[in-house]
């Protein structure tokens, strides 16, 4: 019984880890730089497809067979390809302000989905299958941990400061010598490459990816995770991912009529968060949990960003 439960929980946990990595990447773009990307899943799909193509076609060709190193290389391919895609989309699109960036990234996702459906080498509409199982729960959570650490650390670097300053006030940031276009571009490109990492982990865990992964609805799920959890907090993004993966899993045991309506529940959660806790559910948690060791509240709030 316990064994069954463990076996069952592996897949949801992997999905949670991957969604959390995606959310962390978007957190950097949305919460860090204040840019609304509605095509985050597209960069995830770019990373997933490229990593899968690498493992299936390129790795055997160059004689790389040791699973650990193939997976490591696939992660690098996924991150790099998504980074390049992010760069190509961002260079023209970041000249656009506000809603237009959201539209442009949305358009990119649609184009990518259509293109993938028409490339037979990666399965076309049937999806890309037959990918070796190289990733695991351990891989997912190790990468999740590393990504989390990296972004937390990034916030304290010069680049991270420039990104946050750009988000808070572009005119003031420029007046202090910050190249706001470069800051936004960096945030977008790094965030996209993190999505690519998630894609590479996904294809090697589920051994399958379909063009639907680039779909608008997938991008919305990631935006929801970041918004529900709390845009300004890394912990919030991971919490949001947990909620978005856990709610459908829990509803699995509910009657069909209730289960089918999961988007309605997410919508209700979003409305609740917007009304009662605009900084996301993480801020509610932080309020509820006893604040220990915070007598020096001033220095604590300085480190509180992570």
């Amino acid at each position: 019984m316990l064994q069954q439960l463990l076996d069952y929980s592996v897949l949801p946990l992997i999905l949670f880890g991957i969604t959390a990595i995606q959310a962390l990447g978007l957190q950097l773009i949305l919460g860090g730089a204040g840019l609304l990307s509605l095509g985050h899943a597209a960069f995830y799909a770019v990373g997933g497809y490229s990593a899968a193509a690498f493992t299936v076609y390129a790795a055997p060709a160059i004689g790389l067979t040791q699973p650990f190193f193939v997976m490591l290389a696939a992660l690098a391919v996924g991150a790099l390809s998504a980074m390049i895609a992010g760069f190509l989309v961002a260079v023209p699109c970041l000249r656009l302000q506000g809603d237009y960036l959201a539209m442009a990234t949305l358009g990119f996702a649609e184009i990518l989905g259509t293109a993938l459906k028409n490339i037979d080498a990666v399965g076309g509409t049937r999806g890309f299958s037959g990918i070796p199982k190289l990733s695991s729960l351990v891989w997912v959570f190790v990468v999740l941990g590393l990504v989390w650490l990296m972004i937390a650390r990034l916030q304290k670097t010069g680049l991270g400061m420039a990104i946050q300053a750009t988000r808070d006030d572009e005119i003031a940031a420029r007046s202090l010598g910050i190249n706001t276009y470069a800051s936004k571009l960096s945030a977008f490109v790094v965030g996209s490459s993190i999505a690519g990492l998630a894609g590479a982990l996904y294809v090697h865990a589920l051994q399958f990816i379909s063009p639907d992964e680039a779909d608008f609805s997938r991008s919305v799920i990631i935006v929801l995770a970041v918004v529900i959890g709390g845009m300004t907090s890394l912990f919030g993004s991971v919490l949001g991912a947990l909620i978005l993966v856990a709610v459908p899993e829990i509803l699995r045991f509910a009657p069909d009529a209730i289960r089918e309506q999961r988007m309605i529940y997410f919508a209700l959660i979003v409305i609740f968060v917007m009304l009662f806790s605009p900084k996301g559910l993480q801020s509610l948690l932080v309020k509820v949990l006893p604040r220990r060791g915070q007598s020096s509240g001033r220095s604590a709030s300085a480190g509180g960003q992570a």
Binding site: T157, R174, G177, I178
Partner: protein, 276 residues
């Protein structure tokens, strides 16, 4: 920098604006505006509301590009360069409507002002290399020094926007100083301050000019504040310069009196205090 007299440059003109003109549609917001700010001097820019004072700041700092005219810092021309390039050249400013980074603490607001100088170190600091972490500690130390210079040390860990209004203005000055400017543009720094705070601010501005040799261009509606601080004043009305000179001379200029009060004689010292 190949000239030998760099040591004696403290009296030279740092910032020079020549015949700046900008039109917004049919409106000429600023017309043929010229001004110079020498190192270590405090120059005032006054005029009734809507005269174009902040537009001049925006022209000098690259927020707007002038339709005509040029801006120089020392020998190098700044006209038409991006705002961040002009800032890196040594022109810092504060804003009339305070623009702090609300997501950052007081100390981080000051540290962020140096972020562009840390280019190329981001990867190394991501990995936490020791050389970089000592550089980061140095940066924080310098930011703390500037905070204590403007009198904000005790608020270092506060959320920047939770500061009282007057202190937010001081934080903007601290942030501008962190960029190590040659020229500092202050847009109504005393607005919203009580009389005690204004006296403190005047001392601070004087010290910035005196101790660091920074040239200061000051927009302010509080006439007492301006007249006490500035060595030279330019008066702007409807986008045009109507008077230039020492505080005493400008105060007596009939054109200035007319611009502020119609044709009557001003109650000296507080002519436009009610303006804000």
């Amino acid at each position: 920098m190949n000239q030998p007299q760099t040591q004696q440059e403290s009296e030279k003109v740092l910032l020079r604006a020549e015949n700046l003109t900008i039109r917004f549609g049919g409106l000429v917001a600023v017309q043929s505006f010229s001004l110079s700010v020498p190192a270590g001097r405090i120059v005032g820019l006054i005029g009734p509301n809507g005269a174009g004072k902040t537009t001049v700041f925006n022209l000098v700092t690259g927020v707007y590009n002038p339709d005509e005219g040029k801006v120089y810092l020392g020998e190098s021309e700044l006209t038409g360069r991006g705002a961040h390039v002009i800032s890196r050249a040594g022109v810092a400013r504060t804003f009339q409507n305070i623009r702090l980074f609300s997501g950052l603490t007081v100390l981080e607001n000051v540290v962020a002002a140096q972020s562009w100088q840390r280019r190329g170190t981001s990867l190394a600091s991501l990995l936490g290399l020791p050389s970089v972490s000592s550089a980061e500690a140095e940066l924080r130390r310098r930011a703390s020094e500037i905070l204590s210079f403007v009198g904000l040390s005790e608020f270092a860990g506060w959320e920047s926007t939770s500061l009282p209004y007057g202190l937010q203005r001081k934080l903007e000055i601290a942030r501008a100083l962190m960029t190590q400017p040659k020229v500092l543009l202050l847009d109504e720094p005393a607005a919203g301050m009580n009389p005690t705070e204004k006296v403190e601010l005047a001392a601070l501005v004087r010290e910035i000019a005196g101790r660091f040799g920074i040239g200061i261009l000051l927009i302010e509606h509080d006439m007492k504040f301006v007249m006490n601080l500035c060595s030279q004043i330019t008066v702007l009305d409807h986008g045009e310069v109507i008077s230039v000179g020492s505080p005493a001379a400008v105060q007596k200029d009939p054109k200035v009196i007319e611009a502020y009060l119609g044709a009557e004689t001003p109650d000296s010292g507080t002519a436009a205090e009610g303006g804000r």
